[in-house]
C-alpha cells in the first residue's frame, strides 16, 4: 500500500518533472557538440544516464572552458522517467482520484496525458523513418532508414531463374559493437561461406595503403581511416572489415565494407558471386512511387529556393494516381507520409537528370499527440468552466471567502493529483 501511495503521489510527479526538466536542459546543451542523435539517445532513449559532459555544457552556455570535464552521475534516463510518470498518472490521476462530476475534466486531462505518453512509446517502438531518392522517370517501392545500419549479402551471379532477388540481412546491433579488434562470425545455411565482421568504424574513409604508412589492417590495397564523428549522425560514413571463409575450404578473402561504396564487396565462391554491402536498413512501401517531374522554383534573380515540387505517380497494382508533393504539403496515404526533403542534379547516361529525395515516415501513432492535446484542452477547459460556474453561483458573502485561506480545502478536492 505504501508503494501504491508512493507511485501515486504528487511529490513523485514533481520529482519526475524536475528530472525531465534537467535532462531536457542537459540534452539541449550537449547536442551542440555531440549532435542531436547522440543526445537524444543518451538522455531520452535511455534508462540511466551515467555521465554528463559538463565541459560541453559550459561551452554551450558560452562559458570559456577548453578542457574535458566528464562528470560521472546517476540520473534516470528519459525512458525511466516517462515510465514512472505514466504509472504516476494512471495511479494518481486516474485510479486514486475522487471520481465525481467536479473532477471529470481533470480525469480527462490526466487520461489524455497518459495517452500522449503511450503515443510516444508506440512511436519509439514502431516508427519507421527514412528517405527515398528518385531520378526523373525512376520507380521505387522501398525506402532506406536514416540511422539503422545493416549488412546485406546478395547472390549476384548466377541470377535466380524466377528473377527474384533476396538479401540476407545482419542487423547493426549484431556488429556495431565490434570495435577495437573485436570480431564476430556470421553463418547461414543459405551461404557457402562464413562471414567474419571486425573493426567496425562509425565514421571512416577508405584510403590507398600504397604510399602511406599505416599500422591498420590492409585489404586489397586499402585500409579504413578513422574520421571524427559528424554531429549529424546520418552524415557518418561507417565501415568495417570482413573476412569470407568458404565452408568447403579454400582461401579466405578479406575486404572492406563502406557505406558510400559504389558497389558491394564481391566474393567468388565456386561459380557463385556474392555481393556484401554495408548499408542502411531498407523498408518496403505498400505502393510504388514514380517521379514524373521535379520542379524547382527560385526567388527571382537568385538561386534561393522558393518551392520544390515532385510530381509523382502512386502505383498500386494496376492503379495509377497522379500526386503532388511539395514543401509543407506531404502525401499521406496508407499510413505513410512522404515529404519533399531535398533534390540534386546529376549525370546519368550522359544526360543531366534531376533527382528528388522524399522523406518517408510511417508512424502508427502519427496523430495521437494531436488527439491527446485536443482532449487535454477539452478537459482543462471543461474543468475551468465548471469551476467558474461554481464560483459565480456562490453567494457574494461566501465568494469573498473564496479568497480566504480556507478556500484551499476546496482546491484540494478539485485537484485530485494532490493527494
Amino acid at each position: 500500500m505504501k508503494l501504491y501511495h508512493f507511485f501515486a503521489s504528487f511529490g513523485l510527479a514533481t520529482v519526475v518533472l524536475v528530472f525531465l526538466l534537467l535532462i531536457t536542459f542537459l540534452g539541449t546543451l550537449e547536442q551542440v557538440e555531440h549532435g542531436l542523435f547522440d543526445s537524444v539517445r543518451k538522455y531520452f532513449d535511455s534508462y540511466l544516464i551515467t555521465s554528463v559532459d559538463l565541459a560541453c555544457c559550459l561551452r554551450a552556455m558560452h562559458v570559456s572552458y577548453q578542457g574535458n570535464w566528464n562528470l560521472p552521475v546517476l540520473i534516470p534516463g528519459g525512458m525511466t522517467l516517462m515510465a514512472i510518470l505514466t504509472l504516476n498518472m494512471i495511479l494518481g490521476g486516474l485510479i486514486r482520484i475522487r471520481k465525481t462530476g467536479r473532477t471529470f475534466g481533470v480525469i480527462v486531462t490526466h487520461g489524455s496525458i497518459v495517452f500522449m505518453l503511450v503515443a510516444g512509446l508506440v512511436s519509439f517502438l514502431f516508427k519507421k523513418e527514412g528517405a527515398v531518392r528518385l531520378a526523373e522517370g525512376q520507380v521505387a517501392d522501398e525506402f532506406q532508414s536514416f540511422h539503422d545500419v545493416v549488412i546485406e549479402i546478395e547472390r549476384l551471379e548466377p541470377v535466380s531463374k524466377d528473377g527474384k532477388r533476396v538479401a540476407l540481412v545482419i542487423p547493426g546491433r549484431q556488429f556495431q559493437d565490434l570495435i577495437g579488434g573485436k570480431a564476430r562470425t556470421f553463418e547461414s545455411k543459405d551461404l557457402p561461406f562464413d562471414l567474419m565482421v571486425m573493426n567496425y568504424e562509425v565514421n571512416s574513409a577508405p584510403k590507398k595503403a600504397a604510399g602511406s604508412s599505416t599500422s591498420r589492417e590492409v585489404a586489397d590495397g586499402y585500409f579504413l581511416q578513422t574520421l571524427k564523428e559528424e554531429l549529424e549522425q546520418e552524415r557518418n560514413a561507417d565501415g568495417a572489415y570482413v573476412k569470407v571463409t568458404p565452408k568447403k575450404g579454400g582461401e579466405a578473402q578479406k575486404g572492406i565494407l563502406w557505406r558510400f561504396a559504389a558497389a558491394p564487396f564481391s566474393v567468388k565462391v565456386g561459380d557463385e558471386v556474392y555481393g556484401i554491402s554495408l548499408t542502411r536498413k531498407t523498408y518496403k512501401l505498400p505502393f510504388s512511387v514514380r517521379l514524373d517531374d521535379f520542379q524547382r522554383e527560385v526567388h527571382p534573380g537568385t538561386e534561393r529556393a522558393r518551392k520544390f515540387t515532385s510530381v509523382i505517380t502512386k502505383i498500386t497494382g494496376e492503379k495509377e494516381e497522379k500526386k503532388i508533393i511539395t514543401m509543407n504539403e506531404p502525401l499521406r496515404d496508407e499510413g505513410y507520409a512522404l515529404f519533399q526533403s531535398a533534390f540534386d542534379v546529376g549525370e546519368r547516361g550522359g544526360a543531366m537528370v534531376e533527382s528528388s529525395t522524399l522523406q518517408v515516415v510511417n508512424n502508427p501513432s502519427d496523430h495521437w499527440p494531436l488527439y491527446a492535446m485536443l482532449a487535454t484542452m477539452a478537459g482543462m477547459l471543461g474543468h475551468m468552466i465548471a469551476q467558474l460556474v461554481r464560483f459565480l453561483r456562490k453567494p457574494a458573502s461566501r465568494t469573498s471567502k473564496a479568497f480566504q485561506p480556507e478556500a484551499s480545502s476546496s482546491a484540494s478536492t478539485t485537484n485530485p493529483a494532490t493527494p
Binding site: A140, E152, V166, L168, E187, P206, Y222, A263
Partner: protein, 254 residues
C-alpha cells in the same frame, strides 16, 4: 592478436599450475591490507589464485568475440525496381579511386583532301598550333602545315618577313608586301608568298640550303590562318600543284 593473447593466457595459466598448487596451500585471511595476516595450510583458493583466475576469465571474455558465432536470421526480398549492383567491382572502383578516362581528342574543325603521295605527320612531330600537319617527298623531307593564331598574330608584314628571315632573305618593304599575289583560301582572299633560299626553321642549328617556301596568310577579324610549305626546291616545285589542291580543299566542317 586476441588469439595469441588467449593462447598466452592459457599457457601462462598452465605454466603456473604448480605454483598455484603451492600457493593454494596457504590462505590469506587478514582483513586489513598492510597489516599482519594469518596463514592457514588448508587447501583452497589463494589471493594469487583468485587473481590468476580473474585474469584468465577476463582474457577469455575479451577474446570471446573472435570465437563467437551467430546465425543470420533475417532476410528481405529486394524490389524489382532496385538497381542490380556491379558484380566483381574492384576496390578502386568501389571507393571512387579510379582515374577519369582521358578526354577524347578534340575533333578537327577543318576538312581537307590530302594530296596523293602526301601523308599525315606522326602525332607530336609538329607544334601544338598545327591543325593540319603533312609530310611529302621520298624521305618525308617536305613539310606542309596549317596553323591558326588568335587575332592579327602580329600582322601580315611581321609574319611574312619572319618567314623571309627563316629563308635568309631581307624583309619586304611595304610596297613589296602590297604587291604580293592573292589566292582564294577557305572562301576568302589570302596573301600568297614563295621564297627560295636557305631555310633555317625554329630551333635548327644550321640552315638547309637550296630550299623553297610557299605560304598563304589569311587575316580574318578574329584569327589568322597560315599555310606553310617548306622543302628542297626541286621537291617543292614538283608539289606546287599539290599545294594549291590541298589549300583549295580546306574547308570548315559543317
Amino acid at each position: 592478436m586476441n588469439k595469441s593473447r588467449l593462447d598466452a593466457g592459457v599457457g601462462a595459466s598452465l605454466r603456473n599450475k604448480r605454483m598455484n598448487r603451492f600457493f593454494s596451500m596457504t590462505k590469506v585471511t587478514g582483513r586489513e591490507p598492510g597489516r599482519s595476516v594469518q596463514k592457514s595450510n588448508r587447501p583452497g583458493l589463494t589471493g594469487v589464485g583468485v587473481c590468476l583466475g580473474l585474469s584468465a576469465g577476463l582474457m577469455l571474455s575479451s577474446c570471446k568475440p573472435l570465437t563467437e558465432r551467430m546465425e543470420i536470421k533475417e532476410s528481405r526480398q529486394i524490389s524489382e525496381h532496385a538497381i542490380m549492383p556491379k558484380a566483381e567491382a574492384t576496390s578502386a572502383e568501389r571507393f571512387f579511386d579510379t582515374q577519369p578516362p582521358p578526354p577524347p581528342p578534340a575533333e578537327n574543325p577543318l576538312a581537307w583532301i590530302t594530296p596523293e603521295g602526301w601523308a599525315e605527320a606522326p602525332a607530336g612531330s609538329g607544334g601544338g598550333m598545327r591543325l593540319i600537319d603533312l609530310r611529302f617527298g621520298p624521305n618525308q623531307e617536305g613539310e606542309c602545315y596549317l596553323s591558326i593564331m588568335p587575332g592579327q598574330a602580329g600582322g601580315l608584314a611581321a609574319n611574312v618577313n619572319r618567314w623571309r628571315t627563316q629563308m635568309g632573305l631581307t624583309p619586304y618593304t611595304d610596297a613589296e608586301l602590297a604587291a604580293l599575289p592573292k589566292k582564294t583560301f577557305v572562301g576568302r582572299d589570302a596573301t600568297f608568298v614563295a621564297f627560295d633560299g636557305d631555310f633555317k626553321g625554329v630551333g635548327a642549328e644550321s640552315a638547309a640550303t637550296g630550299y623553297r617556301m610557299l605560304g598563304l596568310v589569311q587575316e580574318a577579324p578574329e584569327f589568322t590562318l597560315f599555310v606553310k610549305l617548306t622543302g628542297p626546291k626541286d621537291l617543292v616545285v614538283k608539289n606546287e600543284a599539290a599545294f594549291d589542291q590541298f589549300a583549295s580543299s580546306i574547308s570548315l566542317k559543317r
